[in-house]
């Protein structure tokens, strides 16, 4: 079920359902790839969220009706549910409850965020840290800032949640692992932010200067449809990785992924 939302004279948003669902996200990602491959004149860019695709187009070159018929065509290119996506799994080291984000929270007169999130989800901090490392996360979209990656546990049973800051921070350290609602993210650079801070990774996820060969092709590390798992490191290990980041070898394995690889979930979120 596709609905269209007019977003001014040069954007069209295509909504695939109104509920939060990773299966929907999978469909959005595969159809977006198909659209890109069609290389349609007049389309300036395509981006995605969990359940929508945004097409930026030149209305003097292509009409909205033409765009809609191209979208219809995408569905006729084969059942997206039978698509196989090459999904990369990244293993990312994290210092949970690290000193930098704790200092940052203190600067904004907020209690340590990891303690707060653990209490909200009725678990102890060690339990939270253990659960956080025990699951694999699905990269749903990139947005808000260059390279800022948003992901959720693939297993709905492992989805903790936390409310965002009432007043956003004006500063968040680069590499901070954050949570807002059920979405988690990694901050690509020092920036404002409103997600609760769980920890920090030394690995750059955005690098315009391409200090590490991983950024040779793209300045951002992740793309929708990737997966992430996390493992705990110490402050000393963090510093060791950071000091030799140019030679760090990112731990990536690619696997085929289909829509049936997601466990069932009960979607409730409207709009």
């Amino acid at each position: 079920m596709v609905t269209y939302r007019i977003a001014g004279d040069q954007f069209l948003i295509v909504k695939f359902g109104e509920v939060f669902s990773l299966k929907t996200n999978f469909t959005v990602i595969t159809l977006c790839e198909r659209l890109r491959k069609l290389n349609i004149g007049g389309i300036r860019g395509v981006s995605t969220s969990v359940n929508a695709m945004m097409i930026h187009y030149d209305p003097l070159t292509i009409t909205q009706d033409d765009l809609k018929s191209h979208i219809q065509q995408l569905n006729s290119m084969g059942d997206p549910e039978k698509e196989i996506l090459r999904s990369r799994l990244f293993r990312i080291p994290v210092v949970y409850g690290d000193q930098w984000t704790q200092d940052c929270a203190a600067d904004f007169n907020v209690s340590p965020n990891l303690d707060f999130v653990a209490a909200l989800n009725e678990m102890s901090v060690p339990e939270l840290i253990e659960m956080h490392q025990s699951c694999t996360y699905w990269v749903a979209y990139i947005g808000f800032l260059p390279g800022l990656v948003s992901f959720v546990p693939i297993d709905p049973e492992k989805r903790i949640s936390a409310r965002k800051y009432d007043i956003p921070r004006t500063r968040t350290p680069q590499g901070t692992l954050g949570i807002g609602g059920i979405l988690q993210c990694i901050y690509p650079m020092d920036s404002p932010g409103g997600y609760q801070m769980l920890g920090r990774t030394p690995l750059p996820i955005y690098d315009l200067n391409r200090c590490n060969p991983i950024f040779a092709a793209d300045i951002v590390l992740f793309r929708p449809g990737d997966r992430i798992s996390f493992y705990a490191i110490s402050h000393e290990e963090f510093t060791a990785i950071e000091d030799d980041i140019g030679r760090y070898e990112y731990d990536i394995t690619a696997e085929d992924w289909t829509i049936n690889d997601f466990p069932p979930e009960a979607g409730r979120q409207h709009v």
Binding site: G8, V46, P59, G143
Partner: protein, 325 residues
Amino acid sequence: MFKVLKGGIMATVQDLGRPGFTSQGVPICGAFDAFSLKAGNYLLKNHLGEAGIEVLFPGFHIQVLSEMAVAITGGDLSPEVNGSPVDMWRAIRLTRGDVLHFTGLKSGCRSYIAFSGGIALPEVLGSKSTFLRGKMGGVQGRMLKEGDILHLGYNGIPISQIEGRHAKPPLVRNFADTANIRVIKGLEDFLFTEESVELFFSAKWKVSTKADRMGVCLNGPQLAFKPRENARSKEGGSDPSHILTDCMPLGAIQVVSGREPIVMGVDGPASGGYAKIGTVLSCDLSLVAQLITGNITMFNEICLEEGIEILKAQTALFSEDNVDF
């Protein structure tokens, strides 16, 4: 070639931006008032998308190091050359040693300096535009500052063939303290009460102190949302204006908690989690770009078809019929 003597409040190199990277979280960037940059380039017979300088507020000074033609367009910041006022919306010749500076705010807030041949700088993600938060484009991803030396490109046109070209009124924009901005309703307008949608299009909105290239915030009446059973679900957040994070079109008007609508600007985030009531017509972003704190703006509803006709008419303005020489 020219040298920056004073960086002023904020002067950045901008062209028409880098569309196509929102999927990586990179905003479209570029001149906020794209019409004015294009007009300057047109007067100089440049490509319309050649990079120029976006000057925010007075205080920016440059010294010319080699002869060049420039055109100053956009908001009127009282440009002077060697202390004497110069015409805007006109191709003028500057010679070695000339000092161009902006001395006072008359209308709007952003002037554009277009240079014959454009500015010679490397492109980052297909554009020379400066994106400050991403530290990309322009001069090392930052504002221009004292001591910067910039080189111009070459468009092969002798200055004598462009000097004195000036825009006739249709190609000149005047920016007043009040603006009427055309908006195509849409996105999450259905989440607002009907009265609030009407109120949005009839109220006078005052530009707040939060106005920059990321977005322009407006103060005015509180807007209300329809009651929503599932609004307080854990995925979306706890406020009725919260939605599941979605893509953010340039010019979308996001209304956090029903107050302070914000028109998303060229350097705005590529996604957002609050209800949007509509989107500003692309060519009217030039008007949004020139708003300053305290200005009054009203939003006029138009449909998509009207918007495209307006866009066509505006594209047709870049014609020799609208240039005197």
